[in-house]
Subunit: 103 residues, 5 copies
C-alpha cells in the first residue's frame, strides 16, 4: 500500500455498470519523508475520507476485496484513514493535530 493525501474528487456520469454510489477521490502520494510527490491515484473511497486527510491506498486486484467493491472494475481503494504515521520515534503525521512535520 502507499500513503497519500486526499486532494480532490472526480465526478463521472458515464461509467461502466455497477459503479453507482462509489465515490472517486484523487489521492496524491506522499514521499517516505512526508512530502507531496508528483504521483497520484484515483481511488474508491468507502470510508468517507475528507480532503487533506492522510490515507492508505491499496491497488490492483486487492481493491476488489471488500463488499462494496467486489467484482467492480476498479483498481484502487482507500482502505484506511491514518491516525498517526511514525518513523522510529519521530511522528511524521498525527491526525489529531492535523499537522505534518516534513523531513
Amino acid at each position: 500500500m502507499v500513503i497519500g493525501i486526499v486532494t480532490g474528487s472526480v465526478v463521472a456520469s458515464q461509467k461502466t455498470a455497477n459503479m453507482d454510489g462509489l465515490a472517486l477521490r484523487v489521492v496524491r502520494r506522499i514521499t517516505p519523508e512526508g512530502e507531496l510527490s508528483d504521483s497520484y491515484v484515483v481511488a474508491v473511497d468507502a470510508l468517507g475520507a475528507a480532503t487533506n486527510e492522510y490515507v492508505i491506498v491499496a491497488s490492483g486486484s486487492t481493491a476488489r476485496q471488500t463488499t462494496a467493491t467486489d467484482n467492480k472494475p476498479i483498481d484502487a481503494i482507500i482502505m484506511a484513514i491514518i491516525d498517526t504515521w511514525q518513523i522510529g520515534n519521530r511522528i511524521i503525521y498525527d491526525k489529531s493535530s492535523q499537522s505534518i512535520a516534513t523531513g
Copy 2:
C-alpha cells in the same frame, strides 16, 4: 485508476481470439496538476469516449471485470468519462466547458 486524455486509436487486424469489436484507444496520462505527461496506456473503450475527452482508466485484472471484457486478454479499460475533476474548491477540468485549467 489514473486520469488520462484520449489522444488516438490503434487498429489491429491480427490479434488474439475474442477481441473483435473491442475499440483500442490511446490514453495519455495527466499529471495531478492537469498537465499532459509522457506516459500513456492503450485501453479498451466500451463507453464511446471521444478524442480529447478526459477519462479514468483501470488496469490489471480489474480491466476484465465487465461483461464486455470478461476473460479477454486486455489489461486496461476506460471505466468512466469524466464530467468534472476538482482539487479542493478549484475546478481542474469541466467537460461542459471543454476547457482545462493547468496548475
Copy 3:
C-alpha cells in the same frame, strides 16, 4: 496495454514446465510520440510477429487469458499486431507503408 516494436528474441532451453513451443520476443516500448524508449518487455508471441513490427503487449494475469498461455508462468503477451496508430488525424504508424513518423 502498451505499444512496442519487436526487436529481438530470447532462446532458453532450461525453463519451467509447460513452456515448450512458446516463442519469447523482446519488445521495446514506444513513447506516445512514436519514439523508441529505454524500456522493454519479454513477451510470448502467439501471433507470429516479425522483427520491427509494431505490436500491443498485455501484461500481468491478463497474459494468461488465451488458450496458448492459460496456466503458464508468463506475464506478458503480444495480443495484437498493429495496422495503424493514429493521434487525432495524424498517422503515427502505418504497417502497409512500413514507416513511422516521429513527433
Copy 4:
C-alpha cells in the same frame, strides 16, 4: 519481491472490514548496492519485524496468500526477515552483526 528496511509504522482506526490486528509497517526499499532509496511501501507484518530490520516484501495478489491475509484488502506483505544478503562472495547485510556494508 523487493528488499527493504522497516522504518516506521502507521496506525489507523478507520479502515475497511477484517483489518483488525494486522500491523502496518512502513518499509523503505533498498537499492541493489544496499543503500536507502526514495521509494517505500506500506506492508502488513505478520512476522514481528523490528524497526531497522531488513525484510523481503511481496506485492499484489501475492500478499493475500497467507492465512492471516486471505481475502483482506491489502497488497503488500513482509514475507521474510533477512538473515544474510550476499552479492557474489560479498556480504551486503548480516543480521547477526546488525551492520550494512554499502557499495
Copy 5:
C-alpha cells in the same frame, strides 16, 4: 517478463509458512542494450540458476503458476535460464561463450 542477471542470494530463517526449500535469488535487471540497470528483483529460483547467468523473471500472480510456487506468497520467479539473446542479427548474450556484448 524481464531479463536479468543473477547477482546474489538472500537467506531468511523467519518467513511466512510454506516457504521452506524455495531459494531466493537477487536478479539485477538488464537494459535493452544488455547493460546492468539500477533495478533488481528478489525471485524464487526453481531452476538452479548460477551467479552471473542471464535469466528471465516473471512477476505478479504469474509467479504462482508452477507446482513449486502454487499458493505461495511470492511475486517473482525465474522461469527460464537464457541460452541466447538476439537483437536483429546481433547476439547480445550467448551463454555458451559466457560473454556479453554491450551496445
